[in-house]
Symmetry: C2
Subunit: 138 residues, 2 copies
């Protein structure tokens, strides 16, 4: 029952992410990449592939397009010459901040809940996510 409601909610929210990303001329995946790249903290391409849950061969093209737009850059790894590290540029940092700002704003459905409901919701979801963290280790 809880899952039914949650699944329905997620389905209703699905379009929001694409829409907010599109406002910044970003595809959903591009937005996800930018989200992953915390300014000042380089990320290896294979780590990004893991985060996106896609094949490494895709990352090349996705990164190519973001790099061509000047939102991130490839750097060398100091430890492993096979690895390319990704880091957002100054311009990428700005777009990322704008994106995160939009994503952080709660949608109407959540904003309309009472404070008590919001607190309860947060508490339960935190427990659910924690349960995942445990089983993930197995």
């Amino acid at each position: 029952m809880a899952w039914d409601q949650l699944f329905r909610f997620m389905q209703l929210q699905r379009a929001r992410y694409s829409s907010l990303a599109a406002e910044l001329d970003l595809s959903p995946v591009q937005a996800s990449v930018l989200k992953e790249l915390e300014p000042g903290t380089p990320v290896a391409m294979h780590a990004l592939a893991d985060a996106l849950a896609c094949d490494a061969s895709n990352v090349t093209g996705i990164v190519d397009r973001l790099e061509a737009r000047g939102l991130l850059e490839r750097r060398e790894s100091s430890h492993d010459r096979r690895v390319r590290m990704l880091m957002v540029t100054e311009r990428g940092r700005e777009v990322r901040a704008s994106l995160l700002g939009r994503l952080r704003r709660p949608p109407q459905e959540i904003a309309s809940l009472s404070r008590a409901d919001q607190r309860t919701l947060a508490r339960i979801l935190k427990r659910a996510i924690a349960a995942r963290a445990v089983t993930r280790v197995d």
Copy 2:
């Protein structure tokens, strides 16, 4: 705060849908189409485009591929000769049932919650979704 947790949860769940669809050799969109087509209830192609929140021109190709696999069929509308109605075939009905069965199974995160938490979660989400239904009319 509630939105932070919810957003994070949705992000963690994102891969699940694709993965369950892939088990049945369905792309995410193909799975969504099958989900929309309740057996015995024909749906117009433009209505499907609305449900998928995509351009009508895409639906042609998506439906072509599902029809080629014998999962659905195009029929004529009795009222408007411009309209094509879609209906799942018997084989499509089976695949759809299998898909819905998989999607309905709650993920680890939800299943691990107490009954009380699950009830509370369902109740709050129901309120949230209802709030959307109201603002949607505006």
